[in-house]
């Protein structure tokens, strides 16, 4: 199996088998359009350690061939909402997937950004679900404290936002 070289944001070069990294839609599209060459593919928005973790995740799921193709809906699931699709993905997570997310918040956020950048929907679902669980049941201020989010609303904007989303409290 041919190797693909990736250069992370910190300059680290990682070589990975083509069938493993093709779980990334971003890389798969490059290989489809320009083919595989000796030139390394820059991954400027992902650090070396995070890229290595993402590759570990992809290596664990190497034998799931469907992950190397564009994610088309299965027969009978074409009209499912994105919520239903995400719930289905969550139900298919294994022990490795759950252990994978037992990391600090900073790493979790970096993994979400990496999964989005590399276009790996199952990983984005996995890590996104983990963050969403951390948000569950928290008030607005508690979420701000947990995720260190600065309140940059004016009093009027905050009042409008609470009114627009009042249904959430029902």
């Amino acid at each position: 199996m041919r190797l693909v070289s990736l250069v992370a944001a910190d300059g680290a070069t990682i070589s990975v088998e083509q069938d493993i990294i093709e779980q990334s839609g971003t890389i798969r599209n490059i290989l489809n359009d320009v083919g595989l060459s000796d030139a390394a593919i820059p991954v400027p928005n992902v650090s070396g350690p995070i890229l290595a973790r993402v590759i570990d995740y992809c290596r664990h799921h190497r034998n799931d061939i469907s992950r190397r193709q564009p994610q088309a809906p299965l027969l009978g699931e074409e009209n499912d909402s994105s919520d239903a699709v995400t719930q289905r993905a969550i139900s298919q997570m294994d022990e490795f997937d759950h252990d994978f997310c037992r990391v600090d918040q900073g790493t979790l956020f970096d993994l979400i950004l990496a999964a989005n950048f590399l276009d790996i929907p199952p990983l984005l679902d996995l890590v996104g679900y983990t963050v969403a669980c951390k948000m569950k049941g928290k008030s607005v201020q508690e979420m701000r404290d947990t995720f260190a989010v600065k309140n940059d609303f004016t009093p009027e904007e905050e009042k409008q936002a609470l009114e627009d989303n009042a249904w959430v409290e029902e």
Partner: protein, 199 residues
Amino acid sequence: MTDPSNKEENSAKGLAHKQAADAAFKEGDFMLAVKEYHTAVLHLRGLDSSPLSLAKVKGEKDVKEEDITEGQKLMSTIYSNMALCHMRLGRPARVTYWAKQALAVNPFNAKAKFRLVQGLVREGATIKAAALLDELEKAGPEDPAFAAERRNIEAMDRKADAKQRKELAGMFDRANKDAKEAEGTEETKDTEGNDAGRD
């Protein structure tokens, strides 16, 4: 977490690669243009994403044009340009793919919609292409590019019609001939049976 200074650096590099891609396209080097557009995407993708907004389940809410950010418009333009490169390289499946990506990021990108029409026509999906072209023509009824693509659709439909007529020509004559041959065979069997009974 991503360093803000890296964001500025990546944004500048991304724009530089986009300009290099545009220049390569004008020179007619479409493969180089595709490579440069991909490199631009690698530097620009995800720059305006936040982990919390990515974590939430995506709802099927209607997107308004004023909600599309400058970053999204830029990405959509790049994807649409990649579709055009693949048009020149004669790869209709990739034209359709990148046009759809452009519209996923910015559904109001009319050029991307037109690229999608062109890709669909070249893939033979003339019904889908015609429906999209109808939408585009409402906004720009005098656009000569739309008229040219409409002529392409009509020519493909005529060709498909002619092929079908040729395949179906004489179908009923053939069916009648087969039926008569079958009748003739049955009559011969009846006659043989009667003769055998006469000895």
